[in-house]
Amino acid sequence: MSAIAPVMNGQAVRMRKPMVNPSLIRAVTAIGAFLILWEVGARSEEWFGFTVPWVGLVPAPTAVLVAWGPLLADPGYWQSWWLSFARVLAGFIAAMIIGIPLGLWIAVSRLFRGMAFPVFEILRPIPPLAWVPASIIFWPTQEMSIAFVTFLGAFYTVVINVVGGAQSIDSRYIQAAKSMGSSGMDIFRRIILPGTLPSIFIGAAVGMGITWEVVVAAEMISGGGSSMGGSGGGLGFFIWNSYVGGSYEQIVVGMISIGIAGYLSSTAIRALGQRFTPWLSSR
């Protein structure tokens, strides 16, 4: 067997264009294989008489689908989606609105960096969830407490990325802009801001992921009650409620729902990023 690619009529066979996008084929194959292994593992007891560890205790995907069907017609389920999305968006947008200017300020002002950065670095290692009790005390409503914790999840990542991005802008760009007659404001608007955009979107994508992690945990902790004046609920509470109610299929439904929600969010951010940083996607 020769190592040279097979050649037919003088043309390499590999030149043929595939009929279906190969990355789509790979994705479908991988998800399919995963589902089959899961199904077989979950039904191992009833099919083979022994329980595969871990997977054997999880509801099978078909069972999850059966449980999911009626939920799709249940407004309560969609209410959970909406509540979680609203909290994620509120916290995320607040983190962007506060985090981007703060990060830029830390990056460009040595004085402000000297004052703000130490405080920031002490607060940053505190996990957002450790803020839950304090934020329940701080904020008048449960809704605001959850939004605040969600905000913290994205905030640090956004700030760190903006600071890093703005500081790593090549000094030649600034020198070139100066020698072509740019004012300080011009340099900020035309060099530092666009130069930081890629990092802003990286921070946003990572921050969005953390936001989903945090919102679900915060919803589980705060529960569905309205004793604090909020409406409770959300996908995190949906999972917790299913666990308490003993509906294991619904737990998995909730988990997959969060997976889909997170995927949709990060896809939206990626699309936005490509729109605002066209010079990167065209490479």
């Binding site: 020198q175 070139a176 100066k178 020698s179 072509m180 004012s183 666009p194 010079w279 065209s282």
Partner: protein, 294 residues
């Protein structure tokens, strides 16, 4: 102070600059630059004097790290000088009372690795200067940019980002971007270093063509002797650190030049002459480096 230290190297005769522009004469007078990182005073430039005539292409050659770029940065206004003064057309850029020149569009730098803004299209990059200075409206700047791009053979790349075009095109875009500011002086810091030799030879002719259309003074740092002699009215060889002109070689090959010059006997003679001086300094720099390393 020995006379050799302060020897001013004179500019070439006016005739040898083909219809030289009057503007853009640089006078560097006894400039010193001492870097002082952590108290270890490093003399980068020592009592350097150099006269560059308006419209001259002055090629600066010297060992790596000898302080050529320091000199360029002082002219551009990116770095200060310790003492001495630098004049542009008789006006003081930096001197005793003003250690650092104000960067300005009359002296534009083309950087070694390029500094086109990746987030702007080639056209936006080129139109950047006049818009920033408020010299032209956006529409006027774009029009002028298109005209200049046409003369530099860059039409068709206006709406591409710098990351999407070849390195040769990028370098030309950057030179055109500098010229958009109608500078008196173009400061080029090894602009073609990263290019392969084929692209480089095309770039040399492109640069000369651009130069013939816009006579500006060119202060050009390079390590490539062939490049230095092919382009320059004069080649100034610098000593190893601290940097000071060691020898100035007039290139008496008439402009306009094209690539046939490279095979002419005179070109070879000049190459030999330059090579000898440069080699001497390179050996010194190498030995000095070995001492520092030891």
């Amino acid at each position: 102070m020995s006379t050799a230290n302060s020897a001013t190297i004179r500019q070439p005769d006016e005739q040898s600059l083909s219809s030289a522009a009057a503007k853009g004469a640089i006078r560097i007078e006894r400039v010193n630059k001492v870097y002082d990182p952590q108290g270890a005073a490093i003399q980068a430039v020592d009592d350097c004097s150099l006269d560059i005539g308006g419209g001259e292409i002055c090629m600066i050659v010297g060992p790596s790290g000898c302080g050529k770029t320091t000199l360029l940065n002082a002219i551009a206004g990116f770095h200060s000088i310790t003492n001495g003064s630098i004049f542009l057309d008789g006006e003081l850029l930096c001197g005793p009372d003003r250690p650092r020149a104000e960067p300005g569009p009359d002296r534009v730098v083309v950087f070694q690795n390029g500094a086109l803004f990746p987030w702007q299209t080639n056209l936006e990059n080129i139109a950047f200067g006049p818009i920033m200075q408020g010299a032209l409206s956006k529409a006027e700047a774009f029009e002028k940019a298109r005209d200049l791009m046409a003369t530099a053979g860059l039409l068709g790349t206006e709406d591409s980002y710098p990351g999407e075009v070849s390195s040769g095109v990028r370098r030309r875009v950057e030179i055109v971007r500098a010229l958009m500011n109608d500078p008196k002086v173009l400061l080029l810091d090894e602009p073609f270093r990263a290019l392969d030799s084929l692209t480089k030879s095309v770039m040399h002719e492109a640069l000369l063509n651009i130069y013939y259309q816009n006579k500006v003074t060119i202060f050009f740092i390079t390590h490539d002797l062939e490049e230095a002699i092919f382009l320059g009215h004069r080649v100034v060889i610098m000593t190893t650190r601290p940097c000071r002109p060691k020898k100035s070689i007039l290139v008496d090959i008439p402009h306009p030049r094209d690539y046939s010059v490279l095979t002419s006997p005179r070109f070879r003679e000049l190459m030999d002459e330059t090579m000898e001086v440069v080699h001497e300094e390179a050996v010194k720099a190498f030995q000095a480096g070995e001492k520092e390393g030891a």
